[in-house]
């Protein structure tokens, strides 16, 4: 509980004694490049294969002749938009971005770079962490949109190449009983995941004491705690937003 309390105090410190807006602007752009552009390849790769596997596995499970083939595409679409794109992308980013944030801040802590900022009278948590949080909030939704698109495309390519669904059925299935709120729900989840991953990882890295071993532990804790927070938030948001 005390750790949770310290996490909330840490969150509060991000918004106290902030620097001028122009200071953050350059930092946010740099972080967007690192977090967003730097993650495109891995997110694209994972989401394409997830879509492909979802399509083929769904086809394998729906071999009843009374079920139209277009249902396969509907399941790929809905599972991608509602769950796979935001949650799998968040877990991939918890591994890539979360560990990077924790190890970067942890190393800055043990090499006294954070102390150097504090001595200058700069709010180190706000200066170092806030740009990462803002960049995550901006870039995660873009990555999830890309992931959803590529996942559905991956499903199409895998399904048609494997001969489990025709292109026309896939296209028809994508348009079947489409609910636009699914996309809104997915983006709401993504923003929450982005906040959780960036702040939990930053908290772990920022509070490292010791040496290289502790930086490694903080990085591991950042990933595991972020993943736990993501799946817990996923369940809570689904309960809140999708149940009647």
């Amino acid at each position: 509980m005390s750790r949770l309390g310290r996490y909330f105090i840490f969150l509060g410190s991000l918004f106290r004694n902030r620097e001028k807006f122009r200071v953050y602007l350059g930092l946010v752009v740099d972080e967007c490049m690192a977090i967003g552009v730097g993650s495109i390849f891995i997110v694209a790769l994972v989401s394409s294969f997830i879509g492909a596997v979802t399509c083929v596995q769904t086809a394998y499970n729906l071999d009843n002749p009374f079920v139209p083939q277009s249902i396969i595409a509907l399941i790929v679409r809905d599972s991608t938009i509602l769950e796979l794109a935001p949650t799998i992308t968040a877990i991939v980013l918890a591994g890539k971005v979360g560990s990077n944030i924790a190890s970067q801040l942890g190393t800055m802590r043990i090499t006294e770079q954070i102390d150097a900022l504090e001595v200058m009278g700069i709010n180190s948590s706000s200066y170092l962490v806030l740009p990462k949080v803002i960049a995550s909030l901006l870039m995660f939704p873009l990555l999830v949109i890309m992931a959803a698109f590529l996942s559905i495309l991956g499903g199409y390519l895998a399904g048609t190449l494997a001969g489990v669904i025709s292109p026309n059925d896939y296209a028809a299935g994508l348009r079947l009983e489409y609910k636009p709120f699914g996309v809104t729900f997915s983006l709401i989840k993504t923003v929450v995941f982005a906040f959780l991953i960036s702040t939990i990882s930053a908290f772990q890295g920022f509070n490292v004491t010791g040496g290289a071993l502790e930086v490694g532990s903080a990085s591991t804790s950042a990933v595991t705690n972020s993943c736990i927070a993501v799946v817990a938030a996923d369940f809570i948001l689904t309960q809140l937003l999708l149940t009647e």
Partner: protein, 246 residues
């Protein structure tokens, strides 16, 4: 002048500092010495605001650094320069940008004024040629000199150096000591150096404070350092074979 009064600090059930008091005067290079784990770095951190002492006062020219209002504390911080033990240079910034950083963050100087000031500081530490290198591309001694350049770029009134010679060869150590001494004299800075380097003590120790197990056991200068009757200090000083009386 920096005035510390009855500084005490406990971590858990371990008392690291026990009622340390002392004065550090402008233009003096004051040394805080002692064996490892004796509380030197914690005392320095209490003085620069990185650790909050359990009791005591830290006064900068009469201004209380621990209980002052935010504006006073901010002003005092801007008058401080700190050279950290590991130099604490920002890995992602070049030497020039490291030195320029405090100017960017804390002043409203124009870009050309900042460039001029950075140039002056880098020249002062003899590193104008290395301005565009990254911290990973320079040696330990150069990092210390960049750290000094960054510490003096804001024209500080108070300069703190945490083990400026650690990890350096004797020749480079002497150069760093000389640089600290020259800068202190030149700008009439109040300089506090944490060290356990005997060369530093003999070379730049105008005033020396000896700590042992969190207590101040002795205070004097480099001339009286080898003539004290404090057992712990003598053990510390004469641990060096070159000074040992056989």
């Amino acid at each position: 002048m920096i005035d510390i009064k009855n500084i005490s600090k406990t971590f858990g059930d371990r008392m690291v500092l026990q009622g340390i008091s002392g004065e550090f005067k402008p233009g003096d290079t004051s040394l805080i010495i002692g064996t490892s784990g004796t509380g030197k770095s914690v005392l320095l951190k209490c003085m620069i605001g990185l650790v909050k002492p359990d009791a005591g006062e830290v006064l900068y020219d009469g201004r209380n650094f621990l209980t002052g209002n935010d504006e006073d504390i901010k002003n005092i911080r801007r008058e401080m320069g700190v050279l950290f033990q590991g130099s604490a240079l920002f890995d992602s910034k070049s030497v020039r940008d490291n030195v320029r950083f405090p100017l960017d963050m804390l002043t409203g100087m124009s870009s050309s004024e900042k460039d001029d000031r950075v140039q002056v500081c880098l020249q002062r530490v003899g590193l104008e040629e290395a301005a565009d290198l990254m911290p990973s591309e320079i040696s330990g001694g150069m990092k210390k000199r960049v750290g000094i350049a960054r510490a003096i770029v804001m024209n500080p009134k108070y300069l703190f150096c945490d083990e400026p010679n650690s990890g350096l060869d004797p020749l480079t150590s002497i150069k760093i000591d000389q640089l600290i001494r020259e800068i202190t004299d030149e700008f009439k800075i109040t300089t506090v150096v944490i060290t356990h380097d005997m060369n530093s003590m003999m070379e730049i120790g105008e005033k020396i404070m000896f700590l042992s197990q969190g207590k101040k056991l002795w205070e004097g200068n480099s001339d009286s350092l080898t003539h004290s009757d404090v057992k712990e200090l003598n053990e510390f000083v004469y641990a060096n074979k070159l000074l040992r009386k056989e």
